[in-house]
Symmetry: C2
Subunit: 445 residues, 2 copies
């Protein structure tokens, strides 16, 4: 279900943005009430979306649902398949290890009759990480039940609640009798959990705006800075032998652990430099090298000859993926033998993310508008910002389009874990805040 629609070309984001126009108290209240009025439907639609297990390369049915929801709102629709060749030419693209056949982004565009206000991208990703052994979940990761004010399910927090909040926030503005005067693109992208190529593809397709808001699960806060992420696979090869010769042989699983230990020295060295990186000075262990997956050996009674380890490496903003990669491969090349003197040769392959982190400059107009929206939605509370040591698609907008990225979203628990859940009262307030932000930032008539 792709459409031949060409995207609405964006304005030049480097042009001066229109100052955000404050809402009247009465307009603001109408918007807040509209979110409340539709909130049961918003939850129901979020549940429906969670029930689509949009694991990597399985996003289509969830994208169909969002396409229908956007089209039903009268948006101009665009849907296209990611092009691995086009992406590969971009320095921020992640390595592609799977077929992109059928991997499609969906964008719905609202264009005001006369574009007077700031333009906005409301972005979110549809892909979710694997659920793991289902037996570890209290209920199915895909049944999207609500218990004690939490909506449960894989992707509930990360980030289907946010994706749906974008649409319902827009609904609330219109239900309040207001029409935005800035262009708005609603992006539902794939590949956020592995490469970031979904948002990058939307960027390459020409979607730009004066600001982007991405309601990732961020504990009702604004992300000030984050880390970049590189995914790589280590492979250690050796000589398999019969266990009766085990002492003279080389065990690739042991060797892989030795290599990981050496790599963790690099992790420690990078953490030791946190003082040089603004916003990261106070963080507890900002740089995490995660050993996410391991596989090695073929047979219990053969000394294993190979082991592969998937590692996720974090890097400070300002450190390019290329320079981090060079440090990693240098560190691996220096590991030539294990502690018993057995030779080790490790190869490293890029398997996904190859992304630098970003910093959101303080005090921008978009942030100021969000501060006001947040305060109105959260009973006068001040918008807090924080630093998160994880990948965010915000980097595509900040680095390649010079667009301020407001990554800001609801309270969640156990994202990427068992019994992932999102706090529905937080979703309600975030939706209100996004709705007010749309109205302020884009202007209304």
């Amino acid at each position: 279900m792709t459409t031949p629609t060409t995207p609405t070309a964006g304005t030049n984001p480097s042009a001066a943005t229109t100052p955000a126009s404050p809402l009247t108290d009465e307009q603001r209240q109408r918007i807040l009430d509209a979110v409340d009025a539709a909130f049961d439907r918003q939850i129901a639609f979020t549940q429906e979306l969670v029930r689509h297990p949009s694991l990597r390369a399985n996003e289509s049915s969830a994208q169909d649902l969002l396409y229908g929801a956007m089209a039903g709102r009268g948006l101009t629709m665009d849907r296209w398949q990611l092009d691995p060749v086009e992406l590969a030419a971009h320095p921020g693209a992640g390595a592609v290890e799977i077929s992109y056949d059928g991997l499609e982004n969906v964008v719905g565009t609202f264009a005001p009759q006369e574009e007077r206000g700031n333009s906005l991208i409301l972005n979110g990703h549809i892909d979710v990480v694997p659920e793991g052994p289902e037996s570890q979940w209290a209920r199915s990761p895909w049944d999207a039940t609500v218990r004690d004010g939490w909506l449960y399910g894989r992707g509930s927090g990360d980030m289907k609640a946010g994706l749906v909040a974008n649409l319902y926030a827009f609904d609330a503005v219109r239900a309040a009798g207001l029409t935005p005067t800035g262009r708005i693109h609603f992006e539902s992208v794939v590949e956020e959990e592995c490469t970031g190529n979904g948002s990058l593809s939307a960027h390459l397709r020409g979607y730009t705006a004066d600001a982007v808001l991405i309601p990732e699960p961020e504990e009702d806060m604004l992300v000030r800075a984050n880390t970049g992420v590189i995914w790589l696979r280590l492979r250690v090869d050796g000589k398999p032998t019969h266990p009766r010769e085990m002492q003279t042989g080389f065990n690739a699983i042991d060797a892989a652990y030795f290599v990981i230990g050496e790599l963790r020295k690099l992790e420690a060295a990078w953490n030791a430099k946190q003082g040089e990186h603004p916003y990261f000075e106070e963080l507890d262990h900002p740089i995490n090298f995660n050993v996410g997956k391991i596989q090695g050996g073929d047979w219990g009674s053969s000394v294993p000859a190979w082991c592969e380890v998937d590692v996720r490496v974090a890097l400070y903003p300002g450190i390019t993926a290329d320079s981090a990669w060079a440090e990693i491969t240098d560190a691996l090349a220096a590991v030539t033998a294990d502690s018993n003197g057995n030779p080790i040769a490790t190869t490293a392959t890029k398997t996904g993310f190859y992304a630098e982190g970003y910093v959101l400059e303080e005090g921008g107009a978009a942030e100021q508008a969000l501060e006001r929206s947040h305060s109105a939605a959260f009973d006068g509370a001040k918008l807090e910002s924080f630093v998160t040591p994880g990948y965010l698609d915000g980097r595509v907008f900040v680095q390649y389009a010079n667009t301020p990225a407001l990554v800001y979203g609801p309270i969640s628990e156990a994202i990427h874990g068992y019994d992932e859940r999102v706090d529905l009262e937080s979703v309600r307030r975030i939706t209100k805040s996004i709705a007010l932000f749309i109205a302020e930032w884009c202007g209304v008539e």
Copy 2:
């Protein structure tokens, strides 16, 4: 291709064995010459057998070939599927994790017109261990080429050369114009590399004899003693989280490594007791715990919540599998937290071998006959015996049938490794030695 033939019932192995009758020099020479005369055909047939990739649960076509070769020699044939229910009732059976549909043993029996000599089982296993990444082999593991006097290929040494030597040794006796006067069972069994259930099934089917010879690749030597083996799978479960929370989370891959480290303390404790175990006093590290296979985690950017490790544990003869199992599970139960204090719960499952080792008592009649055969085939060299820290089907015969097991076979390299190979001159001499042994042990007319 199963046959309805009922097995020839064995004599009572505890009955006094007939003294082996020395051959005349002339008979001996005729047998040695007959091995040489057929040796090219023996190599060609071994190559053909290696070309059947008789990996576990894929033994059928190789068994077909041996069935045909035995039937063509006029043996009384028997072929049956292993019965996991019958096996499970036996204390020496290995845990069955796969379907046994189509997993069949083949036995061919030679019965003399009048049974005057000792009876003999010539046993070998048809199953081979996985070949691993084929790219690591100089040539395909299945093309069975001969280079510089070595026959290459997975299973060439372990133990298709031996299986075929059993048949060609018998051929040589008959080609020398002699007919054995003792009953001989040629056994081609499955499951030696994982459970030992193939030889155990042949035992349960009623095959017994006054001695068994198993030409495993043993460097032209006789196995005096070996270790028992237990296979188990460790599973460590935890809570997956996003790497941004990695410091507070639990990494099941790290935890599995910690558990392995604790298990290696048990390995060290058992090795420290080698002085208490006859034949193992002088061995370098007789007890090996092999981490053969590992698998854990689902996603590079999720802190892994589970890890499974296949471990092969060795135990001294005299230590029952049950008592070793109790020590292992006690050691695992004592690991309640990792070095950071994170709680660890490990489950251990039996996944294959559950076998005690054995000792071949010195100076038996069968061994004396083999000493003479070996010396004649190896230019007067003395038969050496040694201790091997690996599993052998010999234990089935020694422990459950009170039958002396002569595990004795050719020189090999890299069994269970890449470029596995067997020394053809060694195979020639071993075949000669087995042929002479058949004639001496069973008697000839």
